[in-house]
């Protein structure tokens, strides 16, 4: 194998952790918790080291590790990062250790298995962001599915089995069709070049795609398969129906990772694979996708408005917020795409924090019904303040990170598609509506009878809980004031993705050709 091994280290360190934790005696759940946290922190440190060593001015991928895997088909073990990958890897490692820490108290049942699952999940997620070979990417993509399936299904709420099977089936339909598209793409490359060497290599395929290799009907269909897989993951309207169920039933940390990282796999896949590999088809499909994004933004917000359950409200807000991401990607404009990427990071941080906060109140009340809450500000001021902070961040208060992402997306969209921008901006009022209304009902006013009945059980945020929230809050402020931290990193990736697609004209409708 050639390469520094740094990316492989950050990817497989959690796997080592999973193996180690698996050998902890079942009677010592505390060992499992601490070991898992230690490995997650170690992976986080390695990812930060990568961030420090990353050359922001160089183009292309860095820290590439490469080895032959299945030479007969030119399939390689090839991993590396560019700015976009790196940002999402750091987001993953950060949210993973926070989630593990946040699971210390809520998870008391089969702790060891839980931690093993979480660490395996991290391997899959990191792997998707760093894989430079389509086969390898697919392996990691599917690897994510199994631990998440178990996390929701074993440690989830009352309706967990329905939710987890729905989650798996939805995802699997999309990804298996993507597998066919991956194979067809690689084969098209092989047929044109007469060799399997490099037929699964992302860089090679992207270059070939720029030369028009995957245009026409083939590209139209293959893009459709890729898009379906990623759209289900994002999730875009109308493929979103698994999300509210999965979120509601998942344990708190599962929801955090689901919203924080798993949805980003979809956005990342669109930027990294679907658009650069099939630029012509992307242009062709773009109008329809923009309309779907707008529907998602509006629909998510309206449905969130009427949710009686805190977790479902946050889940539907995800549909709305992720609509901005797909909108920003498919207007093919520099600022919009930058905004979309920033929005992915922000959504990960803010929605992650909101799910943590729902988890905090659920720990104490074993209830998430908004109607039963009220007046939390008087009894748990720190909690109410934290909730207020992240709600405002989610609404898009200037100075906090949520604002910059949405603003950039809208700014970029306005330059190429004014109608879409106007509609999307209008919807931000709804977002303010459902979130602030929720805040008002939960935090302000008199303490509700239900909460009064809890007596001393209703305590404020504990130090451990604060430790999970403070880093996210700090990042929200820092990125709000200085979004350049992310934008400078992803600049190269954005230009690269746009260069592939901007100068390609859409075809009338590819099927006839």
């Amino acid at each position: 194998m050639t390469g520094s091994g740094l990316v492989s280290l950050v990817t497989f360190l959690p796997l080592l952790g999973a193996v180690v934790v698996a050998f902890v005696p079942s009677g010592r759940p505390d060992w499992a918790r601490r070991l898992a946290l230690a490995f997650a922190l170690a992976a986080w440190v390695v990812s930060l080291a990568m961030l420090a060593g990353f050359n922001i001015h160089a183009t292309g991928f860095q820290f590439i590790d490469q080895a032959d895997w299945i030479p007969m088909f030119g399939i390689q073990y090839k991993v590396g990062v560019d700015g976009l990958s790196l940002v999402l890897v750091v987001l993953t490692t950060t949210l993973t250790w926070i989630s593990i820490l946040a699971s210390f108290r809520p998870i008391q049942n089969r702790v060891k298995e839980y931690m093993v699952n979480f660490l395996v999940l991290e391997v899959g997620m990191t792997g998707v962001f760093v894989a430079q070979d389509l086969f390898l990417f697919y392996v990691f993509w599917e690897l994510v599915l199994v631990p998440m399936y178990l996390i929701i299904g074993i440690w989830g709420g009352a309706n967990r089995i329905y939710a987890t099977i729905k989650f798996v089936l939805y995802t699997l339909v999309g990804s298996l069709l993507m597998l066919v598209a991956i194979l067809a793409t690689a084969y098209t490359y092989q047929a044109a070049n007469g060799t399997w060497t490099g037929a699964f290599d992302l860089g090679n395929l992207t270059t070939a795609a720029a030369g028009g290799m995957f245009n026409g009907t083939f590209g139209f269909l293959a893009f459709g398969a890729f898009f379906l897989a990623f759209a289900i993951k994002v999730p875009m309207f109308p493929f979103h129906t698994w999300l509210p169920d999965a979120h509601t039933e998942a344990p708190t940390a599962g929801s955090v990772i689901l919203a924080g990282v798993l949805l980003k796999l979809g956005g990342y896949g669109l930027i990294r694979f679907a658009v650069p590999l099939f630029p012509e088809a992307a242009q062709t499909w773009a109008p329809a996708i923009i309309v779907l994004s707008l529907i998602a933004i509006i629909y998510g917000a309206i449905v969130a408005l009427v949710q009686p359950d805190l977790k479902r409200l946050v889940a539907y807000s995800s549909v709305s917020h992720m609509g901005f991401v797909t909108l920003g990607i498919f207007v093919f404009q520099q600022q919009a795409l930058q905004g979309a990427i920033l929005q992915m990071v922000n959504h990960g941080l803010i929605t992650g924090a909101l799910f943590l906060l729902v988890g905090v109140i659920y720990e104490r009340t074993h209830d998430r019904t908004i109607a039963k809450m009220g007046g939390l500000g008087s009894r748990t001021p720190v909690y109410a303040a934290a909730l207020g902070f992240f709600v405002f961040a989610s609404v898009g208060l200037p100075g906090l990170s949520g604002f910059v992402g949405e603003f950039l997306t809208l700014l970029g969209t306005f330059q190429v598609n004014q109608g879409a921008a106007v509609v999307a901006t209008f919807v931000m009022i709804f977002a303010a509506g459902y979130l602030l209304w929720m805040l008002q009902r939960v935090a302000f006013g008199e303490l509700s009878e239900f909460l009064k009945g809890l007596g001393d059980h209703l305590t404020d945020v504990t130090p451990v809980e604060a430790m999970t929230l403070v880093p996210l809050g700090a990042l929200v402020v820092i990125l709000g004031l200085y979004p350049g931290l992310v934008l400078n990193l992803v600049g190269g990736s954005v230009d690269h993705a746009l260069a592939a697609v901007q100068h390609v004209a859409p075809v009338a409708l590819g099927l006839g050709q």
Binding site: I70, P71, M72, F73, E113, Y138, V139, E142, L143, L145, V146, Y149, L150, G153, I154, R160, I161, T164, I165, V168, L169, L172, V173, L176, L177, L179, V180, L183, A184, Y187
Partner: protein, 488 residues
């Protein structure tokens, strides 16, 4: 009669297999009621046979005037049959002992069946092919009815026997037509004669009839829809280790027959039979899956899902029929992958059913992860592999078959899409087992069972192969590549 020594050398593995079966019976006679010596002879004999297969397989030869041949395909299939039989013998004793069924006879019958499969894989003549087929399936009927005091076992065996004999007759009838049209039964000569016939004009009605009968016959043997009705009853009624064997052994054997017959003798007619294969593939995987979705009994579910897997393999064979040698490689790879993961899954079911009267219903699996964590973990692996989740053998098998179909293009691309949609549907019923094992609490507290060393050793082999064929497919790719090249 004067038989050259080289001919005898070529059939040495086949002869060895028969001798092993006979030796097991003799040892059982010498040590009645003791399974140890018989098992020792069985495993030692299988090891010797495997060594002979490897040695003889070094050079390509034909023997007995071309009636028997040794090529890389023969070697690959023989080794696969040996593995299947060895694993089945390893999984069986625990289950059979508990039901007072003799182990030695079981092993002997199984090895006889294996010798039939070996004859198929090495046949260069249509008559030898038929002999091998009968030698393979007759012991299968015996095995299906092995639990003779159990009504279901007997019922399954009778159904299996009746439909099996019926389909053998149909198959033989088809062979007669081919023989009548070409005047020879030698596979290579048949292919040559067919090429000439085709050059002279269109397909004669007699040959068309023959093709229809042959396809129907083999469709019965591989349990392709709509010729699958015998499968669920035969599978559910048989003792569980037998079901495991029946779902892979005769299936791989029948695919060996298909390869020798269609890819060898009938390849000039590929354009004619491939349409039938494609329709069969589409029906088989879709219907197998749809019915498997509704099963609450794991054994029956695995039976129907085995029909679906036949469909996936047929997709690979259809790709071969369309001119992609990769399709044949895919069939062989899938056959190997499916054998190990499915035998593993059935071994877990058998291990759980060790206690008399334990059903193979889903409820038996409830809460298994607490009772028997190792078995539950392995079953999870096999279920994920059968679903086709990477990095497991089942995933790479599907990958290969679908790649071949995509390469062939045209209607086969549509078949590839149908295959993956089916795979997604299959996830539902495979993961249901995982749900029961991990996420449900047992209705009653079943005692923890102890399992014999042979079971664990067999499970270890199945597990290692399930992971290795998924993670490091390189070695096997080489082997199936050579094997497929021998006929393609």
């Amino acid at each position: 009669m004067n038989v050259p020594a080289s001919d005898l050398a070529a059939i040495a593995p086949f002869a060895a297999a028969i001798l092993v079966a006979a030796a097991i019976l003799v040892v059982d006679f010498a040590f009645p009621g003791r399974k140890g010596p018989a098992l020792a002879v069985a495993f030692a004999g299988l090891a010797v046979t495997a060594a002979l297969v490897a040695i003889v397989g070094q050079t390509r030869t034909t023997a007995f005037d071309g009636a028997y041949l040794v090529d890389p395909l023969t070697t690959f299939l023989d080794l696969l049959f040996l593995s299947i039989v060895a694993l089945t013998i390893a999984f069986a004793p625990d289950y059979l002992d508990e039901r007072d069924l003799p182990v030695a006879e079981f092993a002997a019958v199984l090895v006889f069946a294996m010798s039939g499969a070996m004859l198929i894989s090495g046949s260069g003549d249509l008559l030898v092919l038929f002999l091998g087929l009968e030698l393979m399936v007759l012991p299968g009927y015996v095995l299906a009815g092995y639990h003779k005091s159990d009504g279901y076992s007997t019922e399954g065996a009778i159904k299996y026997f009746l439909l099996g004999s019926f389909s053998s007759a149909i198959f033989l009838f088809g062979l007669v037509f081919v023989w009548g049209s070409t005047g020879t039964t030698n596979i290579a000569a048949v292919a040559g004669a067919l090429t000439q016939t085709l050059n002279a004009g269109a397909l004669s009605p007699g040959l068309g009839m023959g093709l229809a009968f042959l396809t129907t016959g083999v469709a019965f043997k591989i349990a392709a829809v709509p010729f699958h009705y015998w499968t669920p009853d035969a599978y559910q009624g048989s003792p569980t280790p037998v079901t495991g064997y029946l779902s892979v052994g005769p299936k791989v054997g029948a695919f060996a027959l298909i390869i020798r017959l269609f890819a060898g003798a009938l390849i000039p007619l590929a354009a004619d039979w491939n349409i039938m294969i494609m329709v069969l593939a589409a029906l088989t995987m879709t219907l197998g899956n749809l019915v498997a979705l509704t099963q609450d009994n794991v054994k029956r579910m695995l039976a129907y899902s085995s029909i679906a897997h036949t469909g996936y393999m047929l997709v690979g064979f259809a790709a071969f029929g369309a001119g992609q040698i990769r399709g044949l490689e895919g069939v062989l790879y899938y056959g190997a992958a499916y054998s190990f993961m499915n035998l593993g899954a059935f071994a877990v079911v058998a291990a759980l059913q060790k206690r008399l009267g334990t059903s193979s219903n889903l409820s038996t699996f409830a809460g298994l992860i607490r009772r028997e964590p190792t078995l539950a973990l392995l079953m999870t692996l096999f279920m994920l592999s059968l679903t086709g989740i990477p990095p497991t053998a089942g995933f790479f098998g599907k990958f290969y078959v679908i790649l071949a179909a995509v390469q062939a293009g045209g209607w086969l691309s549509a078949l590839a899409v149908l295959a993956v949609v089916n795979a997604a549907a299959a996830a539902f019923y495979y993961l249901r087992v995982v749900v029961y094992m991990w996420m449900r609490d047992p209705a009653t507290e079943a005692p923890v069972l102890t399992h014999g060393r042979l079971v664990w050793a067999g499970l270890a082999v199945a597990t290692v192969m399930t992971i290795a064929l998924g993670l490091l497919p390189g070695v096997m790719l080489d082997i199936v590549g050579k094997a497929a090249a021998a006929v393609g």
